[in-house]
């Protein structure tokens, strides 16, 4: 009624249907700035303080290079393991009904919930020379504690839920008619998996694997107990940064941390590109 009366020609302003946009967006942005953005910027500034030559000297020092190598190698091993095992685990949890399934499903969250130091301690206790697994493995000539395998083990333990928990919902949501269609068209189980099921879960799987990898690169608490932390042999980058910090070498710590940050960002970028590629058919045409 008032709309008829006003004839000022003022443009109509659409009201948002959902209230609270300004408040909620403002809060999120503020939080992101304080918790994520400012620390990252501070880190970059701290690293930049020392100039490129000094920065390069720090990160290319033999001890730092060794630490990066160890961290990357162990993270790759852990991620390959988790990629396969996590996929299998998600498959089992979604596709089969068996007694204790809920318990198994809940157990999957233990690495998330457990303090990483506790994980590190228990893994060390199990795999050390007088633990449960240590002597058996030693008899087979495999050493875990104080080697890169120990590091990879700790990384795998703490990051496997990332793969399981990203693949699981996608697998659950898959339309069973897709597989039935493949069956009626004559496809055998393995073909159905490789050509119908796997492409559908590929984006989620890639996302899970990269997050697991990024998490492995940054893992600290679980590793320091089992790794032995010998410079050049089992010292990870995060620990080296920590050691530099304890020596009040803030710039050295920041330089190493910055490299880790760069790794993480590149990973995120690759992950997003891969996911975009793997799900190209979804957004197409919308």
């Amino acid at each position: 009624m008032t709309a008829v009366a006003t004839n000022t020609g003022a443009p109509v302003r659409a009201k948002r249907v959902l209230p609270g946009f300004t408040l909620s967006l403002g809060t999120t942005l503020l939080y992101m700035t304080f918790i994520v953005l400012i620390p990252v910027i501070a880190l970059i500034l701290k690293g930049a303080e020392i100039g490129p030559a000094r920065f390069w000297a720090i990160v290319s020092s033999p001890r730092a290079v060794a630490a990066f190598q160890i961290t990357l190698t162990a993270a790759v091993i852990a991620t390959v393991f988790n990629a396969l095992y996590g996929l299998l685990m998600a498959w089992v949890l979604v596709r089969y009904e068996f007694p204790g399934k809920r318990v198994l499903d809940a157990l999957m969250d233990v690495p998330f919930a457990l303090p990483t130091a506790v994980a590190g301690l228990s893994l060390t206790a199990l795999f050390s020379a007088n633990g449960w697994f240590g002597p058996v493995l030693a008899a087979l000539g495999v050493e875990v504690v104080y080697t890169i395998w120990g590091i990879a083990l700790a990384m795998a333990f703490t990051s496997v839920p990332f793969v399981v928990r990203t693949v699981q919902p996608v697998l659950e949501d898959m339309d069973p008619a897709l597989e039935q269609a493949a069956v009626t068209l004559g496809a055998r189980p393995w073909t159905i998996f490789t050509r119908v099921v796997f492409p559908a879960i590929l984006p989620a799987w890639l996302a899970g694997c990269t997050t697991a990898f990024a998490r492995s690169l940054g893992e600290f608490g679980a590793i320091v107990f089992i790794a032995g932390n010998l410079p050049f042999r089992t010292e990870i980058a995060a620990l080296l940064a920590y050691i530099r910090l304890e020596e009040f070498d803030y710039n050295g710590a920041a330089a190493i941390a910055l490299v880790l940050l760069a790794f993480a960002l590149v990973l995120l970028l690759i992950s997003n590109l891969l996911q975009f590629w793997a799900s190209r058919y979804r957004e197409a045409g919308r």
Binding site: A181, A182, T184, A187, R188, R195, A200, Y281, G285
Partner: protein, 369 residues
Amino acid sequence: MSITVSGLTKRFGQTDVLRGIELGVEQGELVALLGPSGSGKTTLLKIIAGLEWPDAGQLDVNGQDWLRLAAQERRIGFVFQNYALFPHMTVRDNLAFGLTVRPRAERPGRAVIAAKVDELLHFLQIVDLADRYPTQLSGGQRQRVALGRALAIEPNVLLLDEPFGALDAAIRRDLRRWLRGVHEATGSTTIFVTHDQEEAFELADRVVVMGAGRIEQIGHADAIHDHPASPFVARFMGATVELPVTLHAGRADGSGLDLSALERRALPDGPARLFVRPQDIAPRPDPAAPWRIASRTSNGAQLRLVLRHPDLGEAEADVPRRASAAEALTPDAAVRLTIEAGTIFPTDRRPGAASAEPVPLTSHKETAR
């Protein structure tokens, strides 16, 4: 391929989904399985496809026992209700799927597959969609691709589950005609499931009406419409008004009813039930009659009258609004009901018998959506 189904039963938990299905389908025939949801029609279709397994019974196709064959070995074309196209494959790859997954020894060469796919694209009139992904297609286009994917393997039998269920009315009509054409061109034995009578009768050579896990009637449109074999079919076909009558020497008589238009029926004397469609009831003003018009609503073309009888409850009648007699049909008028067509079934005294079960009412209006 001729299909013979006998004694098929299937139970999900406590529910009998199929209770002894006997059905024969001839080579090249187009058969509709028609029934309300929960009648077991989709389960029957999936058993023929090998996607479900019966608890007992036989399924022979051209004399071969199909219950010994896995779904992959039956070579059937199955079109799913929601199409189930592979979302990460283009239309071309979807069509080729059934050919490319064959074991190496039987698999046609790449060029042969490509030629076959091209031929299908032309046949389905979707050449310009070849390189699109399913998300880029409309419902009708997806339906065509789904059918093409099923036809690509040159199936023995074509099975379609509610093929037009998710489409709007205009596209349905087009696709229905088109599917009929496809069926005639390929000559394949085809069975489709639907809950839409119009669809079933327009498209199929024969219609199999199913209710609560049983086949209630098999026949052509007119026969099922005029001579329903059971109260279930009568109700399902729209005869939703049920009136008690008394039979005497094959003639029915009921309170305030003029039943002279009905044929004589060879039924025993005694109480019986009459099933009538609302449009087959013609109320005529008659001051002495027991029926009263309780309400009158119009949808433009038709008047829907709710009629009340002091002892028998309510009945509904549809009369053309512009008919000359319609003016006198005002609320509270006393009327006598002339029944123009209807079916009489003897009153079933057995409690829990099939005909006494509640049946979901389905009419043209509801199913046409």
